[in-house]
């Protein structure tokens, strides 16, 4: 998964990047399943590997992007970016290394999680009803916004 994640960033051609991203998301869905989160794994495959990636590929084809020309790479900016990323990964390693609970393995589950759609649905409509409705409005606004942005000016 990490290899394909890195390929997303390294590849010069946007199509190759997008396809690496699909593989990376599928591997991530497998990791979710290994954590007994079947619903999230299925959602990951459907929404990310399905919908979002089709959207990305569609836009790439629509814009007809060639692989990036060999522009003069701004070495200072690239080196700065890599340096900040390295600092971040060192921080993460030191924090996780000092975190005591991180050394324990996962406790066993007393019950199967194959009914987690049911449990998540109950929680969603019970405890998280208001956020759920707000998310609905957000999606409506995003839909209207996307349509407005891609409309041709007809005046």
């Amino acid at each position: 998964m990490l290899v394909f994640g890195a390929a997303v960033v390294i590849n010069r051609s946007p199509v190759a990047s997008a396809l690496s991203l699909v593989v990376s998301f599928l591997a991530l869905a497998a990791l979710f399943m290994s954590l007994d989160a079947y619903f999230i794994g299925v959602i990951q495959v459907l929404v990310y590997a399905g919908a979002i990636m089709v959207l990305f590929l569609f836009i790439i084809m629509l814009l007809d992007l060639r692989a990036e020309k060999l522009r003069k790479i701004n070495w200072i900016a690239s080196a700065g970016g890599v340096a900040v990323a390295l600092a971040l990964i060192i921080q993460i390693f030191s924090v996780v290394g000092r975190f005591q609970a991180a050394k324990q393995s996962f406790p066993p589950l007393a019950r199967s999680t194959s009914d987690d759609v049911h449990r998540i649905g109950l929680l969603l409509f019970d405890n998280y009803n208001l956020p759920f409705q707000i998310i609905g409005v957000l999606i409506l606004v995003a839909t209207i916004g996307a349509v407005m942005l891609s409309r041709r000016e007809t005046r």
Binding site: A37, Q44, A102, L124, L149
Partner: protein
Amino acid sequence: MVTLGDYLVVSGMLFTIGFAGVMVRRNIIIILMALELMLNAANLSLVAFSRFHVDPSGAPNYNAQVFVFFVITVAAAEVAVGLAIVVALFRLRQTIHVEDITSLKF
């Protein structure tokens, strides 16, 4: 045995790859993809903690999974609007290279 720390380290590395992508790449579409990687890294650590906190009835903590559901929804909305903006920008400027779009630069 696989520990919680293993998942956290993988999540951190995925986040770092996405972060490096946002910092280094100059193609807006690739930057959006790297943003998706970062959101997914956050989801992975949420699910790992959800599995780690087993409640007395023996089920994982589903609050985190509901939160992951919300994150995925918001990410989908963000990608839809972001790509619409990219298309509008390309129609206007014929470029998606961030260094060519500097109208707001002081």
